[in-house]
């Protein structure tokens, strides 16, 4: 029995509206409701980036939302999956080119699943999340392998507050 394969059964979602029209957001809310009930898949809407696996982003990224989006994304621990919900989150949609819009979510953070529609239907969101589960599992494996590789290369005793870097940077001109 491979315990690791059960990991994908617990995706906790985090929802952020980066400047959309609320349409997709209320459909995400509808997903939680009894008719669609995504808790069947073990999903919880945590509202807390530190404990989430899946980031559901809706809406085109406005200039003010951009930093918050990246900040929240950075606070999520790997493995993490980003789903852009709806046309405007995926590409900017109808808002593309407006002066305060920066375009799709993938301009700033890597997006794994694009969900189409304006607005997306709950079924589509659920479908997107289920696709994300497979990606999540793949990413988990990748992460574990990379961690294994890294642990051997890193020497002890560096500064703690940074990610360890295997090799020192040598000055080009000496």
């Amino acid at each position: 029995m491979n315990l690791a394969s059960y990991r994908k059964k617990s995706p906790w979602i985090l929802h952020y509206n980066a400047g959309g029209c609320n349409g997709c957001d209320i459909e995400i809310l509808a997903c939680l409701a009894p008719k669609y009930d995504i808790e069947r898949f073990g999903m919880i809407n945590t509202g807390n980036p530190k404990q989430s696996d899946i980031l559901l982003v809706t809406g085109p990224v406005t200039k003010r939302s951009r930093e918050r989006l990246v900040e929240i994304y950075a606070q999520m621990p790997e493995p993490k999956v980003v789903i852009s919900c709806g046309a405007c989150a995926s590409t900017g949609g109808v808002f593309r080119g407006m002066y305060n819009c920066e375009g799709g979510v993938d301009q700033f953070i890597p997006v794994d699943v694009y969900v189409c529609g304006c607005g997306t239907r709950p079924e589509q969101i659920i479908d997107g999340v289920v696709q994300a589960l497979a990606i999540l599992e793949k990413k988990t494996k990748e992460l574990e392998e990379s961690v294994k590789l890294k642990r051997e290369a890193v020497k002890e005793g560096h500064q703690l507050n940074r990610r360890h870097i295997a090799d020192e940077i040598k000055p080009v001109l000496s």
Binding site: E67, E71, A74, P77, R151, L160
Partner: protein
């Protein structure tokens, strides 16, 4: 042995005199040396005392005592005149009249003036070791005080004076002597509280004076009633010899009133809170080893006589009420020292209650509380001094992020508060024993027991909330350094606090041993009944109370070790993340809950007065 005991009495007094005249550098060494010497003496006496020692002093001392009494009262009268305090004046006149009347009517044959039994020795150890540490601490503290060089010497001198008088208080048997020493501690505290000489200090010093004078007056009345009821000499041992007689109830009640006034229980709680204006070592001294500890000491001394009397019942009721009232009062405080003061009052109430119950286990509980509360409170107060001097902090609400600038201080304060609250610390064991014995009281004494139980349960929870509230700001920090760097507070500050921290931890580890070899014998002699302490496997039985050692041992790793480790531990190979701020990157201000008890305070005082009146009434009826 007499020699050493006399040394314990006289050495601090002599040093006190010397400190006034010696130059600074020598007096510094003298203080440190004397502190060591006193501790060593107390330890030696403790080890070598097996049976109670009764001893009398030459006859002329009686006259000296009487003269000193009158002189002291005259001084109080002068203070009253100069500060225009009517209350102090009236009380002084009353005391003077009572004293003169007693001197005139009482037979002058004082046979045994002093009694040094295990309880006294127990107190010696507490007084001399803890006060010694405080004296050393105040060397540095008072140096930074803005006052003249003479007043600095004067301050140290009174500290030692205080220690000497305290040693005398806990070993005097004769109530007249006891009265003198009692009033002398009052004097010492009056001088120390008024040390800074500003308006608030003077006012609070006067409050302390008159409140303690009420206690003195009560003692005089007790002496009178002992003679009036025909019990002969007014000594503690004489009182204890007449246990279970109705006539001694009134003197007992009166002495209990004295204890309540010294112990700052409710109607008298104001003076201890006001004492906060004094330099911090004074607070440490008053709270941990001297002054307020007279209250549980008196009750413990009288506990065989008090036990199961109506007076004891009222006393238990009063202290139960004080416990919860002080705890609630503490919640409303923001000043660090005032919070400590309230928690002292609450715990003193518990000590007095345990003493008044007088069963073997409760006496052990009372003793455990006296000792460990002394150590923990001393540690906390000295840290308050450090906070004041090094970090310039007085209010808890300003102590936000202390964990970053002063990791050691914040660690010690956290441990200090935890030691008053949680297993496996000594003070907790005392509290635990109290709750368990109160269960028995609730079975026997029905409603009273149930009410007291409620007060203790509620008060305990309120205190825990209070401690959490204070610790909240202390431990908060935004990140971590690769290596912990303790702040430098100077050798004297850090040495004294290290010693106290060591004592807290050592007391906790050695608790099973201490219970068997230290507290049990003292309690046996104090309560006049055997205190069986048996170790069976992993359990320690005190009378019928079972103290499982294994959970406490594990709790040791769970609490102090964890809290200390938490400061030092560094997880490598774990990435750091920012705190969650809803995606924003702004800075926000923090605070804890605050509470206000302004409306309740008058009712607390009123209830205290009612209890006090019923204390006397019960004894009369």
């Amino acid at each position: 042995m007499y020699f050493f005991i006399t040394g314990l009495f006289l050495l601090p007094l002599i040093v006190s005199g010397l400190l006034l005249v010696l130059p600074g550098k020598i007096s510094k060494r003298l203080v440190i040396l004397t502190s060591f010497l006193l501790s060593a003496l107390a330890l030696y006496i403790f080890i070598n005392t097996t049976a109670p020692l009764y001893f009398s002093v030459p006859g002329y001392v009686n006259e000296v005592v009487a003269g000193a009494d009158i002189l002291l009262l005259v001084y109080f009268g002068w203070v009253a005149l100069r500060k225009k305090s009517g209350l102090v004046g009236i009380l002084t006149v009353l005391q003077l009249a009572g004293l003169l009347y007693l001197l005139k009517t009482l037979p002058a044959s004082h046979s045994m003036q002093f009694m040094v039994d295990k309880l006294s020795v127990f107190m010696f150890l507490l007084i001399n070791v803890i006060s010694g540490i405080i004296a050393v601490f105040s060397l540095r503290y008072i140096e930074e005080e803005a006052c003249s060089a003479f007043r600095k010497k004067y301050f140290l001198s009174i500290l030692f004076w205080f220690i000497g008088v305290m040693n005398l208080v806990v070993s005097s048997d004769n109530l007249e002597y006891f009265f003198l020493f009692f009033e002398l501690t009052t004097l010492a505290s009056f001088l120390l509280i008024g040390f800074r000489k500003d308006a608030v200090s003077v006012k609070n010093a006067l409050t302390a004076l008159w409140m303690n004078q009420v206690g003195g007056l009560a003692i005089l009345a007790a002496i009178f009633f002992i003679a009036y009821n025909g019990y002969g000499e007014a000594t503690f041992s004489n009182l204890l010899a007449h246990t279970a007689e109705k006539g001694i109830l009134l003197p007992l009640a009166l002495i209990a009133v004295a204890a309540i006034s010294k112990g700052a229980q409710l109607p008298f709680s104001k003076w201890l809170l006001g004492a906060m204006v004094a330099p911090t070592p004074v607070s440490a001294l008053l709270h941990s080893s001297t002054m307020v500890k007279i209250a549980p000491f008196i009750i413990l001394r009288l506990s065989p006589a008090l036990k199961d009397t109506p007076v004891a019942m009222v006393l238990i009721g009063l202290t139960g009420f004080v416990f919860i009232a002080a705890a609630v009062g503490a919640l409303a405080q923001d000043n660090f020292k005032r919070i400590l003061a309230h928690s002292t009052i609450a715990l003193l109430a518990l000590m007095i209650m345990m003493g008044a119950m007088g069963t073997p286990v409760t006496i052990v509980a009372s003793l455990v509380l006296i000792l460990f509360h002394g150590i923990s409170k001393c540690m906390l107060f000295l840290n308050a001094g450090v906070l004041e001097r090094v970090f310039h902090l007085k209010e808890t609400s300003d102590m936000d992020r202390l964990g970053e600038s002063g990791p050691f201080t914040s660690l010690v304060i956290t441990l200090g508060f935890m030691s008053l609250l949680l297993p496996p610390f000594g003070a907790f064991i005392g509290k635990w024993l109290s709750i368990e014995t109160l269960g028995a009281l609730a079975t026997e004494k029905k409603i009273l027991g149930a009410l007291v139980m409620v007060a203790i349960a509620g008060g305990g929870a309120v205190l825990s909330l209070l401690y959490f509230k204070v610790m909240g700001g202390l431990v908060s920090r935004s990140g971590e350094q690769d290596r912990v760097r303790f702040e430098k507070t100077g050798p004297i500050y850090s040495a004294t606090i290290y010693i106290l921290l060591g004592l807290v931890l050592a007391g906790m580890i050695g608790l099973p041993l201490l219970l068997t070899h230290y507290f049990a014998p003292v309690a046996a002699e104090t309560g006049r009944q055997a205190v069986p302490v048996v170790t069976e496997g992993w359990n320690l039985y005190i009378a019928s109370m079972r103290l499982p050692i294994l959970p406490l041992l594990v709790a040791f790793f769970l609490l102090p070790v964890t809290v200390i480790t938490a400061l030092f531990i560094r997880f490598r190979k774990v990435d750091r993340a920012r705190e969650y701020m809803c995606g924003e990157k702004l800075n926000y201000s923090f605070s804890s809950f605050y509470f206000s008890t302004d409306r309740a305070t008058p009712y607390f005082y009123a209830a205290g007065v009612l209890f006090l009146a019923s204390l006397i009434l019960v004894a009369l009826i």
